[in-house]
Each structure stands twice: as structure tokens, then as C-alpha cells.
Symmetry: C2
């Protein structure tokens, strides 16, 4: 058994998976027949449960900003968006209503009113996406939910070939705890230190590119904290998996600078203060650029 | 050096801590002079960073429902509330505006309107708490933020003695990774399995009860997944730390049943379907009961 079959064997899928897979297929078919391109956006971090009855888990730092903002821009660029995200992480349009936006309300005539222009605009865009059925939101929590979903939904989209872009912004754990090493109940703290031996998560980019969605446009992400290894690792990933692009970014500067690494070129995208003041986010530029390259890719196939 | 001094030595406090400590002291003094009781509510889970430049961390399952709902009810019972919570976890009143509440808006005359009676009520209660300055919200992320805050804020409140209740609903990690065993940068996945050796977090309930807030009414929480050990562990905690009460609950049934464990009595609190239909939450009953016992405690000192 290969690495990823073994993982799927250790963690059986949720009963609901095949139903959701059918919804993804139906959503994609409806838009493909209208010649609309599709993007499958993954967003937020996966959890690695440390107990079967989970109280503790390992998590990856990700609020879901990159994925949710990019999904908004892909909608504006005419894409239909499948948004596969960590439960309770940031969602397109909704994300603008977080924080202290309760302070923006006024109570008038027994109703709450909101006059903030930007929030009204976000509400309108969300309503439009819902009305036109161009945004399908599906959530995950654990690394197993994520990997099962990635496989099932990629297979549901595979017949659409080059029309589909995979935009894999989720922060997926590189390690997991096999069920055989999991404690059934909450780990008790009385026994001194706790030693965890985690196994390496199989690299699912490999079967995604070679088996599940071989004709699609696949964009992976590389997040590092050490800038001396970032581009090296991004180029290495592209060589190893033979997909189309890697978005390389550093934790500390990711809102202001990314490098798009392609097989035969690299593009540095930056956001300057003028962009910020104009209300632009770097995800707009990333989506723009990738949509451009995706278009060339589609017309070549 | 004792266990907790050693922990504080390994993880120095944030520069902002002493400023926030002064705000807590001023907030509490203002209400104490008006004879208002104070409750210090902790809520949400703490993180345990696995790297100095943190990409990965261990987390505790907690959305912050218990703490944020309880804070609402303590406000209704006339308490001033210091709400010490995990950043981005649920907050009093705000929590009702999450989920898909965007669908409850209507756009009229260029404004967004919301007519949902319950949400309007929550907005009004939030506004009242802000206007009357009875709700002070402070956030934390890591286990070190949490423990430094607990000590500093308990010391800021200690002069108010029995007038203060500590309601420690946060899910605090029992284990942490010492800086000496932390990787500087994101842990690389190329090297096979990952072994983590975590140290046991010092039990801060001990110095809280004996040194930082010896005259206050202290309520700790015990969450387990195994019901055969729950009450045993709750009674044990009360014996070990000599505080006033333990709220004992099981992960699977925590929204419907808790046991309040006191030194000389125990009280089972349950929520039945009729309660749920009437819009009552179990936190209302917990807050009610603890406020009652806190009152007796105050009058006895």
C-alpha cells in the first residue's frame, strides 16, 4: 500500500463525504456548461487530534486571510469558487464583519442599521454570489477531513480538466498522530512530561497532480519563516510534483510580498503603501496574475 | 526556584502587561467603590507554540462558549466583568452575530437593516455594558500570555478580596514546550517522524489561591472525556488547592449537565428540552448558583 492509501486506510472518510462530493460535481458542471472557469480554494489550517475523544490537537497558524480574500477576487474575475475552509476560519465577505463591527451599528426605530459603505458593498457582493450560485462553501476541521475532501472533490472536478484551478492556500499539517498512538481519552497530566511521536503526512500534491486532477491548473503554497530556504524549497516542490505554480511567502512579510514561482519564470508581487491606502490587498494581484496564466493554460489545452 | 517562577523565567512577560494590569486595577477599583462585585472570567484555549517563529502550535479544544455565555449572565446579575479570553474566540454578545447572520440583513435605502429581535437585544445589552463600563475585554494567545495575565491581574484585584470571583473557564494546556527544545524556524518535514517532548505546566491554581488572590472566591473547571474519573478528579483538585468550587463537566454533555463541586456539598445542574426551547443556556444556571454562593462568601468575610 502506498503512503496516501495507508493514510486513508487509517482514517476512514466521514459518512457525509460522498454527498458533498456530488454537490461539488453538480456545482462545477453547472458553471462549466456556461464556460465559466472554476477555482477550488483551500483555506485555513488543519488540526491534528492528539486524542480519539479530542480535547487537544496540533494546529497550524492560519486565520484564513489569504484564502478568503483570494476567493473574493476570483469571484470578481468571473470564476465560480469552491471554498474548502477550516470551520470558523475567515470566509469571503463575512470576514469584513468580524472584529468590533458591532460598534458600527445604530439602533433606529427598533432596528439595527449599518451605514458603513465598505460593509454594504461586501454584503452586496456576498448576496450576488449567493443569488448567482457562484460560491460553494464547504468546511473541514482535521487533517483527515482535509485530505479526504481534497481527493473526493478533485475527482469530482477532474472531468472539467484545464478549466479548473486548484489554489491550495490551506496550511496543511506536515505531521499527524496515527490512531494506534492516540490516547482514547484526554491525556492525563499527572505523569510527568509528555512525549509525542508524530508521523509524516504523505505529500498529497503528488497524487493530486498525477492521478486526481492531472489536467487541471494547480497552484500550491510554500510558507516559511527562514528566507534563506524559501525560494529553494518552492522551486524544489515544482520540480518534484510537476504542477503549474508555487506561491512562495514568508510568515513575517506575507501580506506585502509573495513570489510566484513557475517552471520557466518567477514573478515577485509586492504591495506598497499606496496600494494599502487605496484599499488594495495583495490577494487581488495574486488572483489577477494567476487568472492570466490560467487563461493561457486553458487556451493551450 | 519553584515550578511557576521557573516558567515565568523561561517566558518573559510582554512589554504591554504592566499597562494592562493598571487598567484592570482601575476598572476593579471603580466598581468596588460602588459596591459592585467583580468576576474575572477566563475563556477559550491557550496555545503552546512549537517554534519560536510560530507556524505550528498545540491547542486546546474550546470555542469559548462557556466563558462568553457566562460573562453575559454575570453582567445581568450585576457583576462587573473582566473577560480574559483567547484572541478570536467567542466574546459576550458578539458571539450571537457569528455564523450565517449576514443572511439576516436586508438592504433598504442604501443601508443594511437587521430586524431580528434576539440580535437587537444582544446589541442593546452590549451597548449598555460598554456605556456603563462594566465589561473589560483583554485577550491572550499562548499559555505564557495566559499565565502572566492570570498572575498580574489577580494581583491587581487582590486588594478587593472576597468581592472578586475568579471563574476560570479557559482550557489551559497541561503541557508546554520549553524554549530550549523549540526550533527557531518552521520545523522541516523532510526528516521522517517528529518527536516532541513536552513539559508539564505548573499548576497555577496553587499560587493563585495561596499568594495572588488568597481572599477571593475561586472557581476552577475540570473537563474530562471519561466519566469514571470526572468527579474524583474534581474533588481531588478541591482538596489539593483549597479553593471554593470546581465546575466538573464531560466534553460530550457539557452543554446539558455540569456538577458544581464544593467542599461540603455538590450540586448537579442540568438543562432540559423545555429550558432549551425557552432559550435558556446552562451558563445562566451556573452563574446564578455561583453568584448565590459568592454572596454568602462575601457576607461571611
Amino acid at each position: 500500500m502506498n503512503q496516501y492509501d495507508n493514510f486513508f486506510h487509517l482514517f476512514p472518510p466521514a459518512d457525509s463525504l460522498s454527498g458533498v462530493q456530488k454537490r461539488v460535481a453538480a456545482f462545477a458542471e453547472a458553471h462549466a456548461s456556461k464556460e465559466v472557469p472554476i477555482v477550488f480554494v483551500t483555506s485555513g489550517g488543519t488540526t491534528v487530534p492528539l486524542e480519539t475523544n479530542t480535547v487537544r490537537f496540533i494546529d497550524n497558524f492560519s486565520a484564513g486571510t489569504r484564502g478568503s480574500a483570494s476567493a473574493e477576487y476570483f469571484l470578481e474575475l468571473g470564476y465560480a469558487v469552491v471554498f474548502f475552509h477550516r470551520k470558523h476560519s475567515l470566509r469571503p465577505f463575512h470576514r469584513h464583519f468580524g472584529g468590533d463591527s458591532l460598534r458600527l451599528f445604530n439602533e433606529k426605530n427598533g432596528k439595527l442599521e449599518l451605514e458603513d459603505k465598505r460593509l454594504i458593498e461586501m454584503y452586496q457582493k456576498y448576496e450576488k454570489a449567493i443569488r448567482s450560485d457562484t460560491l460553494l462553501m464547504i468546511d473541514f476541521v482535521t487533517i483527515a477531513d482535509y485530505l479526504h475532501g481534497l481527493r473526493a472533490f478533485a475527482q469530482a472536478l477532474s472531468s472539467l480538466g484545464s478549466r479548473v484551478m486548484f489554489f491550495l492556500a490551506a496550511a496543511v499539517s506536515d505531521f499527524y498522530l496515527p490512531p494506534s498512538r492516540m490516547s482514547d481519552h484526554k491525556i492525563q497530566s499527572g505523569d510527568g512530561s509528555l512525549v509525542l511521536e508524530l508521523s509524516q503526512t504523505p505529500k498529497m500534491l503528488k497524487p493530486l497532480v498525477s492521478e486526481w486532477a492531472p489536467k487541471s491548473y494547480i497552484v500550491s503554497f510554500k510558507l516559511e519563516t527562514d528566507d534563506t530556504i524559501l525560494l529553494k524549497k518552492a522551486r524544489e516542490a515544482l520540480r518534484n510534483y510537476s504542477h503549474q505554480a508555487v506561491v512562495a511567502n514568508l510568515l513575517a512579510t506575507r501580506a506585502r510580498r509573495v513570489t510566484l514561482v513557475f517552471r520557466d519564470s518567477e514573478q515577485v508581487i509586492t504591495l506598497d503603501d499606496a496600494d494599502v491606502c487605496a484599499g488594495n490587498a495583495i490577494e487581488m494581484k495574486i488572483a489577477d496574475s494567476l487568472a492570466h496564466f490560467h487563461k493561457i493554460f486553458m487556451s493551450a489545452t
